[in-house]
Symmetry: D2
Subunit: 350 residues, 4 copies
């Protein structure tokens, strides 16, 4: 359940409130230069920023105990350990009795006897920390073959960035707290989060990812199709409710003559439009791969909600204190990038 | 590449214009009653209907050579063979030179030396015939545990069914050619297809699937999450560009207080709304699982399109004759149901 | 359970008395020339010969319905179907009550409700027919890279061939019914089988396999080590009780100075001896891979044996009629070769 | 390559001279009591003893950073870290030029660019330390279902224990340095090792493993057969050259009437003999599972050996200094037990 990939494989371990979270990253070949500084930069992009993130702060210091020697991979599995320092489980016991709406509590308590609910256990977003670290290694490996990945925030709540955005815009988003593409949108999105937070509420949003550099034919077919594997990895990120490539759901209202991307000679074979999001038949068509991931609002909110009491079997209410992000979307951008990198690195090695 | 599942596994084989398409379905336990009539009914739902489908007609007679004896599974792998009878490869040779926009031709020709382009080779929708047959067996197995699956057409082109629809509506769609939920919408959708077809064009649409009967906690976590695996299987269906659960992409614009499904006692623990589409943390929360799949318009259209000539490396045009569905959505409903059944049967056995 | 391999994968189906046995062979690349005559020759080597084999004769006509067109692989899964023609299940019902000593009956009846015991069900040696056919394809693929496989009978009962044997000897064994390396030993082995048969008894034996042409470093490490995977595949053959490489069990009584194969320059780097059977650290060291497989005597014998009655829970006796090989070793040589080919082809593609 | 299992899975990491060796053990269910003292006891059995082992001493302190809380598993992956403290790579550089006979050096240098030869890299017996720790956890899990595993030394060099040995004998071997079953044999085996060591040589031997408590039908069929998976895991242990079950290779010289284990009522269904080693058709027949593993002599010996110089491409000689076990068999007993435990735990969960 904790493993993704066939040749480049991530094996996750840890829980929200265990001593460590971490992973093994298997299958990165030997002799790849890996900068730990770059990993740490990616970790910073995942960190909560000011008032738009959770007050739980973690140093997120990534320790690589194996597989990288003097900044070079040695071909053996890479082991990543990240200490959990700022844990506080005191607020969680209530949820064993009263499951939080929108959270995994209820099915997890049904499924797992003695489920350790603190921090959401193995369902916690905390598990995405080693994913980002492993994803950064995968990215550095992919960059050897000129494959690049960048994401940005397409929308938060009702603030929707309606412009066409390209890879450079996505890179530029790294300097804004919300991962918006422009300062103007960043401010609006930040305000949207602060407004929700002030009401004891939360907001969702949409992340867009762009990957460039894959040659035509890159990827698999059928159950190993590139979009299948990206979608699978994306839905593994907590809070995801939708994934679409290219024009996505809007393509369903088009005619074939509108949706088909016409081929054209332009310093090689290109397509005039990219409605397909760079994917044909599960393979790259050589154009940038573009996809979007819809995140639901953080389920943990201070506002009073209706729930049930599992002991008394009666209706009840709950108001969630704890330390939670009013919006996870800005932090989720780096997780989406990391998952993409892991899938592409795996496909590259096949 | 041709295998899906861990305990209940489908192994596909065949191509559009090979003698047979088929599959092995492994992992269905012994002593399950399987009706071949029911399988054949499901196959009929996948068949092209009148003028809204391709003129290529196949008898789609399913031969089960192994694994089912006197209507009862024997626990060994089930082998499904379907003969390809009505093949006509004469129209395809042109595409080796001039790849069809929106089709897998271009990346497939790059990836596979000597790619057999006739009928789209292994990318053909023809491969979904054994998927539907295997899915029917998986459904019959799931029904032993009261898990039921039904899909319907949510939209075709600009005709969008905006009503709330439940499982019974989906079952009812089986009597309409477009798999719409009502006769009125069926007529509008049919006209939408015929209009596109008359122009030498095609249309896309959205399929919605509903699965009932999973208990709370059903499914996996992280990379084996129920939604991850459904999404992966759904994106393996040719032509899919998006997958969303519950409120899907629209949830990203909501507040947490709006999106969270409040728990309520109502003959057991239920949720008042089903914005999550029945999934929390990758597991069923006991509510019906609801998800939508966006299909692009069929890429093969008679209208003249721009493409390139791979030999001369010059711009060129193409008008696709062959025999193609102006809209695959009505037929895709049964494929979506089948994929869902295969994933759920696999999850059930773990 | 029925699948072996990661890149070149065999998926078995069928049972002793089902309509067909067969398999899908996935992962053989496109454009490999495959001779169906050669496959049929290999099938003949697996057939029972005269009085030393079972009177159940099967035409073993291999039908390849997919994946090979005009003698050339097309890269899609290869489907192999072999009809079961000469089935006679009348003798088997007794064994549901009185499990045969040395046979899988007892654990199979415990494990599988309604186990179909006819012909031994899915435990039957009949399942090795598609393995031999698939192995022949794997061999033809391996020969493109100059990897060759041949086996022979090292011993039957008390007749033990004590000579050093090389690849050419193994090839030569194809003309003898017992797969012995010389006519003289063939006659002795045949007599050993006939003697046992005359007494209503059976004999075991040892098969030796030699594979040449793997370069140094071929194979994997740890759980994908070449010897690990060969051993796993070999123990999957019904009746196998031991596998050893090179000097095998005898090496345990040696000193390191005796067992180590000294390296020497001899038209490249070679070893003077081959006590390791060509394997170091799970990889080929460039020398021929040599291993032996021990087969137990066929458990089905006419002699009266003690067993229990599962209904009355009392001691009982049994004398097995049916049609059985007094010795499976001669036929097992081709199965051992086929398994080896499947493992090597899989390793080659990784 | 570093992963074994389907439901209970071990993912290894580390190398002989990296900072840590360790593993993730995935799939052990929640609420199993695990004693770290018992783990540490098993680690001690793996340690070199006095003069019959290597002078490299490691504290082998097992740190479990995840998955076990207050001595109880929590169902999430268990992470095991063991520090490498006593590393000394100075002696190894020579082997990059002059590969050691009987060692993985030569194929590893061919296969892996920049292979880190110190301590044998990822081929080192050092990797068996986390296997023993994980195996101890698997054993404690198996004991909940009354499945017990114990091994002992059947032979070292020419000292062969010819008695029938049972589970209690195997347990008793834990108090002897060589893991012999009796004090008398222990002394002889120790002398055999010391004699070889005094000559700058090494010896091999045979380990026997016994597992009790599996019910009839336990295990899989075909490629998931119990003996297939045990053999695969056993051959993954460095230095293994043969695996046999029950009578093993000797069974090949018997008649069916001699080898078949007759069933008999005796407080349930038992067999009179156990020539099959408890395995029929890849499943347990309810009798103790008995198998033997042949180890070659440690290849690293002080005696001068012939090898080649990879740079000059000329014949050369080598005398290996370093710190090496003159016989690994006594330490390998706990590794064999651990591998068995991992396979059985995995089979139990399927």
């Amino acid at each position: 359940m904790y493993s993704l990939g066939k040749k480049v494989i991530i094996h996750l371990f840890g829980k929200s409130h265990s001593a460590f979270v971490g992973c093994i990253l298997e299958g990165i070949p030997a002799d790849i230069m890996i900068s730990e500084d770059v990993i740490q930069q990616e970790m910073r992009l995942r960190k909560p920023k000011g008032q738009i993130g959770t007050p739980r702060t973690e140093s997120d210091c990534v320790k690589i105990t194996n597989g990288i020697v003097n900044g070079i991979t040695d071909g053996s599995p890479i082991t990543i350990m990240i200490e959990n320092m700022n844990t506080d489980g005191s607020k969680y016991l209530e949820f064993e009795k009263k499951p939080r709406p929108g959270h995994a509590d209820f099915p997890a308590l049904t499924k797992f006897k003695n489920f350790d609910i603190r921090g959401g256990g193995q369902f916690s977003g905390r598990m995405t920390a080693p994913i980002v670290a492993a994803g950064s290694i995968a990215k550095q490996y992919l960059s050897v073959e000129n494959i690049q990945i960048a994401g940005f925030t397409r929308s938060i709540g009702c603030i929707h960035d309606k412009e066409d955005r390209n890879f450079d815009d996505a890179i530029r988003s790294r300097k804004f707290n919300t991962r918006a593409c422009t300062e103007d949108i960043d401010k609006k999105m930040e305000q949207e989060i602060l407004d929700a937070s002030a009401e004891g509420d939360s907001v969702g949003g949409i992340v867009e990812c762009i990957a460039t550099g894959m040659p035509s034919g890159f990827g698999g077919i059928w159950f190993e199709a590139l979009d299948s594997e990206i979608a699978r990895a994306a839905f593994s990120i907590p809070g995801v409710k939708g994934v679409e490539f290219g024009k996505g759901f809007d393509i369903s209202a088009l005619k074939g003559s509108q949706s088909n991307d016409a081929f054209v000679m332009d310093d090689g074979i290109k397509t005039k439009t990219n409605n397909m999001g760079g994917i044909l038949g599960g393979m790259s068509d050589g154009m940038p791969m573009v996809f979007r991931i819809a995140f639901k609002p953080t389920p943990s909110i201070a506002k009073t909600q209706n729930t049930v009491n599992l002991e008394t079997k009666e209706n009840d209410t709950i108001s969630i204190k704890g330390r939670h992000d009013p919006c996870i979307v800005p932090r989720a951008v780096s997780v989406a990038e990391a998952m993409t990198a892991l899938v592409l690195a795996d496909q590259m090695r096949r």
